[in-house]
């Protein structure tokens, strides 16, 4: 009758060997990562650092709300939106022709089977250009343009225009090629020009998707134009950077709140626009 004495049920784990092995492998992998990132959480609570942090954070409350400063914040917030809007407008100027040049849906030679070598090479090189534009982060473009045109919104507008034209161009191309191809090919077969095929064949069916993606990107651009200010490209970020360098916590907290409000507002506007147009 006596059975083998089993350990208590919660101590019986059939997979324990695997678990221990997995955990030790993870630990071995994690250590060099933690070393590389100089992961020392205790520096946060060292007395010297803690004093600075607490004084800075203590300054956060209450946020600075005198009317003059609020007017400045409002002006900078508008500049942030304006940089994003102007950047997207310029990006569209660049992205639309590049999309038209790169979209295989508007190829005349592809109607007869395979695209000819020359137009194929042209389309691929335009796509390559779009990839290059997209793969350099806007912050890097901003750093470059700040050195060329000086501090101010021009650098931010140009940086957003270049990066976002790459993103918009690529996604526009994908939208056009994934949509219904029939109307456009029918038009092209019957002798319509590429632009006519685009306006009457591709645009009507894809307009909602194209607009909604553009609005979404505008929202992203507002976020990134606030960040671009940190390298001197104007707007809310630039003011925030200055206040941070002077350890002025109350100004920073007002601007952080303004930024969160702005992003929330852009989120709402973009959602409403997409609902109205979609």
């Amino acid at each position: 009758m006596s059975a083998v004495a089993l350990p208590r049920p919660e101590l019986r784990d059939p997979a324990w060997a695997r678990r221990v092995f997995g955990a030790s492998v993870a630990a071995v992998l994690l250590v060099p990562l933690l070393v590389a990132t100089e992961f020392r959480p205790w520096v946060l609570v060292e007395p010297d650092n803690l004093k600075v942090t607490l004084r800075f954070l203590g300054d956060f409350l209450p946020p600075k709300v005198d009317p003059e400063f609020l007017a400045l914040v409002a002006r900078e917030a508008w500049r942030t939106v304006a940089i994003a809007t102007a950047g997207i407008a310029l990006a569209l100027v660049l992205a639309i022709p590049l999309t038209l040049a790169s979209s295989a849906a508007l190829s005349v030679s592809a109607l007869a089977g395979r695209m000819h070598a020359l137009p194929f090479a042209l389309r691929q090189s335009v796509r390559g250009l779009l990839i290059v534009l997209r793969s350099v982060p806007e912050l890097v473009w901003a750093l470059v343009f700040v050195r060329v045109v000086g501090l101010g919104p021009t650098a931010g507008v140009l940086a957003i225009a270049l990066t976002y034209s790459g993103m918009l161009g690529k996604v526009y191309g994908e939208i056009l090629e994934s949509g219904e191809a029939h109307p456009a090919t029918a038009l092209l077969r019957n002798g319509a020009g590429r632009l006519q095929a685009f306006f009457y064949g591709l645009l009507p069916t894809n307009a909602a998707e194209l607009t909604s993606y553009t609005v979404y990107r505008w929202e992203c651009a507002i976020r990134s134009s606030a960040v671009l200010g940190f390298v001197g490209a104007g707007g809310l970020g630039m003011q925030m950077d200055m206040s941070m360098k002077m350890f002025n916590g109350s100004e920073v907290s007002t601007m952080l709140l303004a930024f969160i409000f702005l992003v929330w507002l852009a989120d709402l506007a973009s959602a409403a626009l997409r609902r109205a147009l979609g």
């Binding site: 990132t37 939106v81 304006a82 407008a89 350099v136 912050l139 060329v148 140009l158 606030a226 970020g237």
Partner: protein, 279 residues
């Protein structure tokens, strides 16, 4: 009783003018007018210095920049530092994402309604916290954290973790709320406590989804980590800001190439991984 054919229903429909392009009830037209006004106001109020941008002087400067960018620096010592900075960027993104996944999961539990009877009192405040974390960009929190954690990759890692916690916490909470409730009900009906219901019923069901969200964010974070250093938070960005500040365009160009390679590597890697997982 004879049926009279009305002339209006002849084979050809009567001529009808197309609707006017702009009329007061056309919502899209008003939106379009609004957008045009916004764009015009943006260009009008920004002091854009196009004349300066298109001036001969700045064109020359651009040309010189571009020329110097085409000759990247390749001394062995510099390349070793570049490799170290690239690894640092990768490590920052990995540790930041890991921390964020852990904290995101911790916050996702109170931020989700486990079952219909759950009062979930902490749901609204936790979600507010997650939204606040999410809406502050990494770069801004990095600039703030440099104050308390000092210059270097640690500040960048924490900044990535903070922003990503907000993003992942929210995604995790949605995943937990959308998990099929059956297994949880079964355990609950057998009298198992909430903690173990989560560990043995909910978590195993949503784990693959959580993993794929985390991997997706890691991909984003590598991109973000590459530029975070611009405010002094370590990695390739810090090197970039340093060398660009000194106008050493050869070094700058190598760093830019390293950044692009890193991002391309991540793109290819995640594409292959996704394809492998989809099979």
């Amino acid at each position: 009783m004879s049926v009279v054919a009305r002339p209006a229903e002849a084979a050809n429909l009567p001529y009808k003018a197309p609707p006017p392009i702009f009329h007061a009830r056309c919502l899209a037209c008003w939106v379009l007018v609004g957008v045009a006004a916004l764009v015009a106001a943006s260009f009008a109020t920004l002091d854009l210095r196009w004349s300066q941008f298109f001036s001969v002087e700045s064109m020359q400067r651009m040309g010189r920049f571009a020329g110097e960018l085409l000759s990247p620096a390749t001394e062995a010592k510099f390349l070793a530092r570049l490799a170290a900075a690239s690894l640092e960027t990768l490590a920052m993104s990995a540790v930041g994402t890991l921390l964020a996944a852990a904290f995101g999961l911790l916050l996702a539990v109170p931020a989700s309604r486990g079952h219909a009877g759950d009062r979930a009192l902490a749901r609204a405040p936790t979600r507010l916290l997650l939204n606040a974390l999410r809406s502050i960009p990494e770069l801004v929190s990095a600039a703030l954290l440099v104050v308390s954690a000092g210059l270097g990759p640690f500040a960048g890692t924490l900044a990535l973790a903070a922003h990503t916690t907000g993003v992942l916490g929210r995604l995790f909470a949605e995943a937990i709320e959308n998990a099929p409730p059956g297994p949880g009900f079964a355990l609950r009906a057998a009298g198992v406590g909430e903690a173990r219901v989560f560990l043995y019923a909910t978590l195993p069901q949503v784990a693959p989804q959580l993993l794929s969200y985390t991997l997706y964010r890691w991909e984003n974070n590598i991109r973000a980590a590459a530029v975070l250093g611009v405010v002094g938070a370590g990695g390739l960005g810090q090197m970039l800001a340093f060398h660009m500040g000194l106008f050493q365009m050869g070094e700058t160009s190598s760093i830019l190439i390293a950044m692009m390679l890193l991002v391309a590597l991540v793109d290819v890697g995640s594409y292959l991984l996704r394809r492998a997982l989809a099979r």
